[in-house]
């Protein structure tokens, strides 16, 4: 009784962006030649997986009323780390762990600056965005690290139970985040910190630890995305992650988690990421160049925010 009811309520609370996704799929299904092929749909899922993984961390940061601008650069740096280590002869597992470690470390630095040294989240992660990007360019001397053996490439184009590995990894990240956010104390505290840091602190919540963990996870997720992307592309480019922070933030906002923090969640973000991936893919198919794709995504962010504000205003008016 309880469970279906609460699921129904959750569906009711889903952002209207779900309908935007349906509309996009229908639109491209009709107008885009080759959109509705199995190959293309799987491709969207693979592309979307990377974005979903990154945007889980971004959701956490925005839920605490913070932000992580460094995810794209951290993704790049982790991918480059893995690529270079594999080429220098490290075992794949060691290389991957090192890549993830680099991402988590970047997140730890962000988190420490924000939670303990009271840096503004924008400043701390903006700085990290430059630092990680710069290091990635420096260690590769600006060149792409190409070509890996089949074992590593499996992470990008292999399948598990018929599902592409990137999709499986994204699912695992989403499930893990969902449990952490909706089923643990820590998750409740993420919402509390975003809702009101003072209320959280006065309720005895260790707000610093909550924020530190949020940024470590955001860095770690970016790194996971970096590893998967490197395998998928069969190369580690020092600009591979550029723009991912923009898409991830867009996915969160379009998915109904506002910048004020304290409300929203990852279901909306997954849909938001799906909208962006579908949009990019579809626009490619109908031949709209990348600059216009970016413009349209930017436009969608604005529309999403306007709709959210209007929706809240209407709800408040009904309530009063």
């Amino acid at each position: 009784m309880r469970v279906p009811e609460s699921i129904f309520r959750k569906i009711k609370r889903l952002p209207g962006v779900l309908w935007a996704l349906v509309a996009l799929i229908v639109f491209f299904g009709i107008s885009g030649k080759g959109f509705f092929t199995a190959y293309n749909l799987i491709n969207i899922c693979k592309q979307g997986s990377i974005l979903v993984i990154v945007s889980m961390g971004t959701t956490l940061a925005i839920l605490t009323a913070g932000i992580d601008l460094s995810t794209g650069s951290v993704l790049t740096l982790s991918g480059v780390t893995v690529g270079l280590l594999i080429h220098s002869g490290s075992p794949i597992s060691v290389a991957i762990l090192a890549g993830l470690g680099v991402g988590a470390l970047c997140g730890l630095i962000n988190g420490y600056l924000i939670a303990h040294l009271k840096f503004h989240h924008f400043i701390a992660t903006f700085g990290m965005m430059g630092i990680a990007q710069g290091i990635a360019l420096a260690v590769t001397q600006g060149a792409v690290v190409p070509g890996f053996d089949a074992a590593f490439r499996k992470l990008g184009d292999g399948t598990i139970f018929g599902l592409p590995v990137p999709v499986v990894v994204a699912l695992l990240v989403v499930v893990a985040t969902s449990i952490a956010l909706y089923r643990t104390r820590w998750g409740a505290h993420v919402y509390a910190v975003g809702g009101s840091e003072q209320v959280a602190a006065w309720s005895g919540i260790n707000t610093r630890r909550v924020k530190l963990a949020v940024y470590v996870l955001s860095g770690l997720f970016a790194a996971i995305a970096g590893v998967v992307l490197t395998a998928r592309m069969n190369s580690a480019s020092p600009i591979a992650g550029a723009g991912y922070e923009f898409d991830a933030i867009a996915a969160v906002i379009i998915g109904g988690t506002p910048f004020e923090g304290g409300r929203g969640g990852i279901v909306g973000t997954v849909i938001g990421a799906a909208v962006i991936s579908t949009l990019k893919n579809g626009l490619n198919i109908i031949g709209l160049p990348t600059p216009w794709q970016i413009t349209i995504i930017g436009f969608m962010i604005t529309v999403a925010i306007v709709l959210d504000v209007l929706y809240q205003m209407r709800k408040d008016r009904v309530a009063s």
Binding site: T184, A188, A192, G195, V199, A200, W202, G204, I205
Partner: protein, 509 residues
């Protein structure tokens, strides 16, 4: 009623706490017995809330000790207070609007199921919340989001939160400030139930009429100092008010000129649906008009609409006879109207800017018509006001954030004087300001009125209204329900109208 309720369970000894520029608490003593409601009384800024925040672990005292059951304890953070069974219900609600009632009740101590993952036991939270809400006689669904609750319900959620951790000591900071009389009756019933179960309550208030209904003992603070404790039977107005205000009451308020001139501000039938309805008022030059009412009566909203910050649906505003056609603060300033907002730090001052920039902020067009700004002129203009208003600052370059509350208020006033505003809207002009600085603000208000300013003063402090205003308007639920002349007005009458019980045909929204 038991006169002596046994040994004190909680004792505070010589608590001292200073903030930059203010000694908020100065060697305060306080004790609490089991099952009693101990009223903490004092004017705004007397130190009541600060003392309780020390007890709740929000502030660390500079010196003094806290004894619980006779043993010294240290309360370094809210968690310590919670562990010792002390809960505080803040004036501003300490709730997360976008989370459920259950999540708020268990915030910071969510119960976990056993097992490896230690997942939150939502079922338990819901059940327990329901149980606690039920004992409080509340039929709220624990899944409701707090933002969808009414004020009184939010308050009871705060109480539920305290009960959920089995608090033995409950601090309530002006719990009735925003409640209706029926909600107050309900709250008082709940308080009696709690005390009969041995819960001790510190009840902060400055409403004298409530005390005899609910309290056992009354302790009075004044200017951060302990004045005395009396049993509630002896806590008559005649006894307690002098303790609260000291002997300075006559000198505190200075009001000299009483010859109103031409009509400066005229508001007719101003309405903003849901906030205020059909409000009409006039303020003449040289006049101070008070605007009384409970929190939430719509006074601030009215002032903001007059100033042009908020919109209104119908009605008209005239300043010196000319109709205000543009609704914007910038237009208001041009015609000579200034607002000294309730939230001084958020809306009145640019906190990170030097004093001089704040003073000239509304006068840049007047002072520098060419568009080129001269810091030298700014400084000399600001220095003039520093001298005129006796603003306590070493230099005009002092950053506004580091000035004391009273000095900040003077800077906001200087800003409007500098822009040659003759219609001044004061919203709670002395909130959070110590008594000495208050007297200064009153002196300045009087002086400006004498020089011909028209002043509309919103205040929740009745003595201040009675002391300063030539006429007092009372708002209740968005309507101006009564006007008193200076001679007619009494505290009791104002309170009666403010609570909507002025006469039989009182307005109800």
């Amino acid at each position: 009623m038991l006169k002596d309720r046994g040994e004190p369970i909680l004792q505070l000894r010589g608590i001292t706490k200073s903030f930059p520029g203010v000694r908020a608490l100065d060697g305060v003593d306080f004790d609490l017995r089991e099952g009693e409601v101990h009223v903490l009384l004092g004017e705004n800024g007397a130190g009541k809330s600060t003392l309780m925040k020390v007890l709740a672990g929000v502030y660390l005292p500079d010196s003094g000790e806290i004894l619980l059951h006779g043993k010294p304890v240290s309360i370094r953070n809210p968690r310590d207070a919670e562990r010792l069974g002390i809960s505080i219900i803040h004036q501003e609600f300490n709730l997360l609007p976008w989370r459920s009632v259950a999540a708020n009740i268990f915030l910071g101590r969510e119960p976990v199921k056993g097992g490896v993952a230690a997942l939150v036991d939502f079922e338990f939270m819901r059940r327990e919340s329901e149980k606690i809400l039920h004992t409080l006689g509340l039929g709220i669904d624990p899944d409701t989001l707090v933002k969808d609750l009414g004020v009184a319900q939010k308050q009871m959620v705060e109480v539920a939160k305290a009960l959920a951790i089995d608090s033995r000591i409950l601090i309530m900071d002006e719990p009735t400030a925003t409640l209706t009389s029926r909600e107050i009756d309900h709250l008082f019933r709940k308080i009696r139930e709690l005390t009969s179960r041995g819960v001790s309550i510190v009840y902060i208030s400055h409403r004298l009429d409530e005390i005899s209904r609910i309290g056992h003992r009354v302790t009075v603070l004044r200017d951060g100092k302990y004045v005395g404790t009396v049993p509630v039977q002896e806590a008559t107005v005649d006894r307690v008010v002098p303790m609260m205000v000291g002997r300075k009451i006559e000198q505190l308020y200075q009001r000299t000129c009483r010859k109103p001139g031409e009509e400066a501000l005229s508001v007719k039938g101003l309405t903003r649906k849901g906030r205020f309805y059909d409000c009409s008022l006039t303020v003449r030059c040289g006049e101070i008009v008070g605007l009384a009412g409970l929190v939430g009566a719509g006074r601030t909203e009215l002032a903001r609409a007059i100033f042009g910050v908020d919109p209104y649906d119908s009605g008209e505003i005239r300043v010196f006879g000319s109709l205000m056609t543009q609704r914007s603060p910038s237009h208001s300033v041009q015609v000579g109207m200034g607002l000294l907002p309730e939230d001084r730090k958020g809306e009145g001052l640019a906190l990170m800017l030097p004093l001089k920039d704040n003073v000239v902020q509304a006068s840049l067009r007047r002072l520098f018509p060419t568009g080129l700004v001269s810091p030298r002129v700014e400084s000399s203009v600001a220095a003039g006001y520093v001298e005129e208003l006796r603003i306590a600052t070493p230099t005009v370059m002092k950053i506004a954030k580091f000035l004391s509350g009273g000095t900040q208020q003077k800077v906001v006033l200087a800003k409007w004087l500098c822009s040659h505003c003759r219609v001044l809207l004061f919203d709670e002009p002395t909130r959070g300001i110590d008594v000495g600085a208050k007297a200064e603000i009153y002196r300045l208000m009087d002086e400006e009125a004498r020089k011909g300013a028209a002043i509309l003063m919103i205040s929740s402090e009745l003595p201040e209204l009675l002391g300063m205003a030539d006429r007092i308007l009372v708002m209740h639920e968005g309507r101006i329900v009564k006007e008193f002349s200076r001679d007619e007005a009494t505290q009791e009458a104002i309170i009666r109208y403010a609570m909507g019980k002025g006469d039989d045909s009182s307005a109800s929204a």
